[in-house]
């Protein structure tokens, strides 16, 4: 028995939304205090973002910024690592510290009642970490364990190999942000102390306070705990982001016991601050960003080669990688590579349909408020404004920028910034069966590497 269906309903009138209002106060020592009062829940996120990313690692010391970031929570001048953990966790919060390519962070989220105590802990960790030798040694050993894991795992191998092959050997980006076995082994406690002293400076720091807190209170706490912090940071380097190859190549990493083929296609694209950012985001949504993207509908829904296929820009200040990724049935790997290449080509030869454009635009426009439900998400958004030096109006104009993108823009940026002739194809899987199939595709020279190849041993 079938029921008569009610008609498909349309939308009602939308209710207005704006990104939380925030104020920026610059203290006399240069620290930027950005406060977004959001009183919906009794919770505050405090995020310190410092211009001290892995692009500042000295030569031969790759992994120093990341190690320094991790070591921040290992003790301060007044607390051992254990005392710091006990202090923080008894406040019901957790210190999240670390670094990526462009910045280091110290972050926590606490209930309002404990926020000012938590603020004091965060400020001490930021300014006066003690980097105990025994903890430093442990962090190095843990990094070595992590590397062992990454190199045993198909996804890890594929990601390491792709970045190694996208960027020229001279580029910092060809090596892991966290460093490799050789570089990490050379890092001493003195290196970490020196990195912190040089780069963790008030004029390199933005403090984002989001949640159940007033601007007056946030500025008062920042002044009390960080107002007498002094020193100036050196200017940011201009990293080498040149590509390794100018022609398309296939790199097959042999993992004979693999049950599936990990597939990556990528090339170096443009920096985050590029004026084509919005058309590129819309273009990527259509190509591989959405569930209903061309790549996913083709590889997953039409062919069943995979559980999912995606594309993304891994945004950073320097020229950022564009990457397609999927894990595909081994016997369909060559077909999947062919289809992925076909989809990249098609983005450049034909304008996207009105249907596709409106899907991507209305998704990015409509989902905007959903991205910023939590204090941590808002703080993270504000951190991007600081790291990428975006205009203060960035979030207030975001939706208008997305809505302004046309099919002609999408075609233009695909033609300008996607280059199928330069894509590096990385496959991790059993070479015995994959090599003949990939060679038969005839899309570029195929090189087979053992997983332990020096080329990938960062």
């Amino acid at each position: 028995m079938m029921l008569d269906a009610p008609a498909r309903p349309g939308p009602t009138a939308p209710r207005p939304y704006h990104f939380p209002r925030f104020e920026t106060h610059v203290l006399p020592n240069g620290i930027r205090v950005v406060v977004a009062p959001v009183h919906a829940h009794p919770v505050v996120t405090i995020l310190a973002v410092v211009d001290a990313g892995a692009t500042r690692d000295p030569a031969g010391k790759h992994g120093l910024a990341v190690l320094t970031g991790r070591a921040l929570s290992e003790g301060t001048v007044t607390m051992t690592a254990l005392q710091l953990a006990e202090r923080t966790e008894s406040l019901g919060t957790v210190l999240d510290t670390g670094a990526d390519w462009d910045s280091s962070i110290v972050q926590l989220t606490a209930l309002t009642a404990r926020a000012s105590d938590a603020f004091a802990v965060l400020a001490e960790v930021l300014r006066q970490p003690s980097f105990p030798a025994v903890e430093m040694q442990r962090l190095v050993e843990e990094r070595l364990s992590d590397l062992t894991q990454i190199r045993a795992e198909p996804r890890g191998l594929a990601d390491v190999a792709l970045n190694r092959l996208l960027y020229a050997p001279s580029s910092r980006f060809a090596r892991l942000a966290g460093g490799d076995e050789t570089s990490v082994a050379t890092i001493t406690r003195e290196d970490v102390v020196a990195f912190h002293t040089e780069h963790f400076r008030p004029d390199a720091t933005a403090l984002l306070v989001v949640g159940d807190c007033t601007p007056e209170e946030a500025v008062r706490l920042a002044t009390m705990h960080l107002g007498d912090w002094a020193g100036r940071t050196p200017p940011a380097p201009v990293p080498d982001a040149s590509p390794r190859f100018m022609d398309r190549r296939v790199h097959l990493v042999d993992k004979p016991d693999a049950q599936q083929a990990e597939m990556r296609l990528g090339h170096v694209a443009v920096p985050r601050a590029h004026p084509d950012y919005f058309p590129l985001v819309v273009m990527n949504a259509i190509l591989g960003g959405l569930f209903s993207s061309r790549l996913n509908l083709n590889l997953r829904e039409a062919h069943g080669y995979t559980y999912g296929a995606h594309s993304a820009f891994d945004w950073r200040r320097a020229a950022s990688p564009f990457e397609i990724s999927s894990a595909v049935q081994t016997d369909k790997c060559a077909d999947a590579v062919r289809e992925a290449l076909h989809e990249v080509e098609r983005m450049r030869t034909h304008a996207v349909s009105d249907e596709e454009l409106s899907l991507a635009v209305s998704y990015l426009d409509g989902v905007f408020p959903i991205r910023f439900e939590t204090t941590a998400a808002i703080a993270s958004g504000l951190a991007n404004v600081e790291i990428f030096r975006l205009p203060p109006s960035y979030f207030d104009t975001y939706r208008a920028h997305v809505r302004a993108v046309t099919a002609a823009d999408v075609l233009r940026v695909a033609q300008t910034h996607l280059d199928p002739a330069r894509l590096q194809v990385v496959i991790v899987g059993p070479a015995e069966t994959l090599q003949p199939a990939l060679e038969a595709l005839d899309i570029g020279p195929v090189t087979v590497h053992p997983p332990t190849d020096e080329l990938f041993a960062d």
Binding site: M1, L3, A5, P6, R8, P9, G10, P11, T12, A13, P14, R15, Y17, H41, V43, A81, A85, E86, T88, E89, S90, L91, G92, T93, T109, A110, L111, E141, E142, L144, S145, Q149, R151, A152, E153, P154, D257, Q259, Q260, E262, F291, S292, L297, E301, H303, Y305, T306, A327, V328, Q329, L359, S362, D365, G366, V367, F368, I370, F372, T374, T375
Partner: protein, 433 residues
């Protein structure tokens, strides 16, 4: 902090939960069906999850994959997930698109079968096989989440078999199975629908009544086999697995009372004391003092029927042998059994839980999912608001007594992963009972 909760049941048995919050113009729709892999019949392992995929393949008035497209075009996010004893489907949309989200869910609850075709089933079967390869077979340790329940529940128990299923069973699934499963389990009286966020309860109720009200009640779901198991394993269980991994990793599971019991809260607090964050015992002892582990955590499976599992999950530091790792984890469990925990340890765990409770409930999707969860398992969504008090009621004496009762060696199942190259050839799989 209290979440507002309104609850009603339609004449066809659909339990509807509404929770108003006008912070942002967004609303979460969350539908739990009280069916999971435990309901599968013999020879059809993985079917509940395959079926979840089929729910995105359209219904009478929705084309294949149009559900995804419609919600994303509306500016929403969505997905579904399958667990041992429930399956959920959820979307968060701008609040002016609430009617569309409800209509989409109602169309597939009322009129799924006209859209089911053999080619769609064949494609989703391939997708699920690839999901299995990706999440289980081609990941170091990826088999743990089917091996551990298999080790901890007897073969006849509904939680014993694999959730994602075997390739043979997936191959055997037919359109007839789809129809039977749909008619049996995807009925309004076997579901909870939660709407949380920027919603007017009167309007929401009218929409729900219009879209879901006419769907007929089911024939009554078949009873699950008896889920009861003995209080503990009764003897140590152990399995060693050679795997394509770099470092040994050990899971030690104990059988404990179900989600919602007082003992469950003791277990949850103990899991934080042992394995949550830097101040935890595993981190301080195994990772830092002894330097045998590179990472360590502890958790409960959160099962509401039969018996739940309390699990320690510890990965070795490079160059630490599997035997050293395994002995060190058991020694930590022995220590808590013999000496209990301190009130300071309990206070730390509860403080972390309180913050987590408030921060996670900032998300409308999370509020909706928790409301559906308590409504599905216990018939009462209001129980969400009782959670902080139940955690605060836990004392050091309770946790110590829990450890003595449930973490003895005869209630531990050890699943040990060793790197394939270093394991002896004849010890590939070893089960001691």
């Amino acid at each position: 902090m209290q979440i507002p909760v309104e609850s009603l049941t339609l004449p066809n048995g659909l339990h509807v939960v509404l929770s108003e919050d006008h912070t942002a113009p967004i609303v979460a729709v969350n539908l739990w069906y009280h069916v999971g892999s435990a309901n599968e019949r013999a020879g059809r392992t993985g079917f509940a999850h395959l079926f979840e995929h089929m729910l995105f393949q359209g219904s009478e008035n929705v084309a294949a994959n149009e559900h995804f497209e419609c919600v994303q075009r509306a500016g929403g996010t969505l997905n579904g997930s399958t667990w041992l004893d429930r399956t959920n489907y959820y979307e968060t949309v701008p609040s002016n698109k609430l009617a569309l989200a409800l209509w989409l869910e109602a169309d597939r609850m009322a009129r799924l079968l006209p859209a089911m075709t053999q080619p769609k089933l064949d494609t989703q079967r391939d997708v699920v096989k690839n999901e299995r390869l990706w999440s289980v077979d081609n990941q170091p340790y990826g088999t743990w989440w089917e091996r551990l329940p298999a080790l901890c529940y007897p073969p006849s128990h509904p939680f014993h078999h694999s959730l994602i299923g075997s390739t043979d069973d997936l191959d055997a699934a037919s359109l007839d199975d789809i129809a039977e499963f749909f008619r049996t389990y995807y009925t309004p009286d076997n579901a909870v629908l939660t709407i949380a966020g920027d919603v007017d309860p009167v309007e929401a109720r009218a929409l729900v009544e219009a879209y879901f009200g006419p769907i007929p009640r089911g024939q009554g779901r078949p009873a699950l086999p008896d889920m009861t198991v003995p209080f503990t394993f009764g003897a140590p269980l152990r399995e060693v697995v050679e795997d394509s991994c770099a470092l040994p990793r050990v899971f030690v599971a104990s059988r404990i009372p179900v989600l919602g019991s007082d003992a469950y809260y003791d277990a949850s607090v103990l899991s934080s004391i042992l394995g949550l964050r830097t101040g935890s015992r595993f981190e301080q002892s195994l990772v830092r003092a002894q330097r045998v582990a590179s990472s360590a955590s502890c958790f409960t499976f959160d099962l509401s029927k039969g018996a739940d599992l309390f699990v320690a999950d510890v990965t070795a530091l490079a160059d630490i042998g599997a035997d050293v790792l395994e002995a060190a984890v058991h020694a930590e469990l022995d220590r808590v059994v013999a000496h209990g925990v301190t009130q300071a340890e309990v206070d730390r765990a509860v403080a972390l839980m309180e913050t987590h409770f408030v921060t996670s409930l900032q998300s409308a999707a999370e509020r909706a999912d928790q409301l559906s969860r308590f409504a599905t398992y216990f018939g009462d969504p209001q129980l969400v608001n009782a959670q902080p008090a139940r955690y605060r009621a836990v004392t050091a004496a309770r946790v110590s007594a829990f450890a003595t009762t449930y973490l003895q060696p005869d209630n531990r199942a050890t699943l040990l992963y060793v790197p394939a190259e270093s394991a002896s050839a004849d010890a590939s799989i070893e089960v001691a009972a």
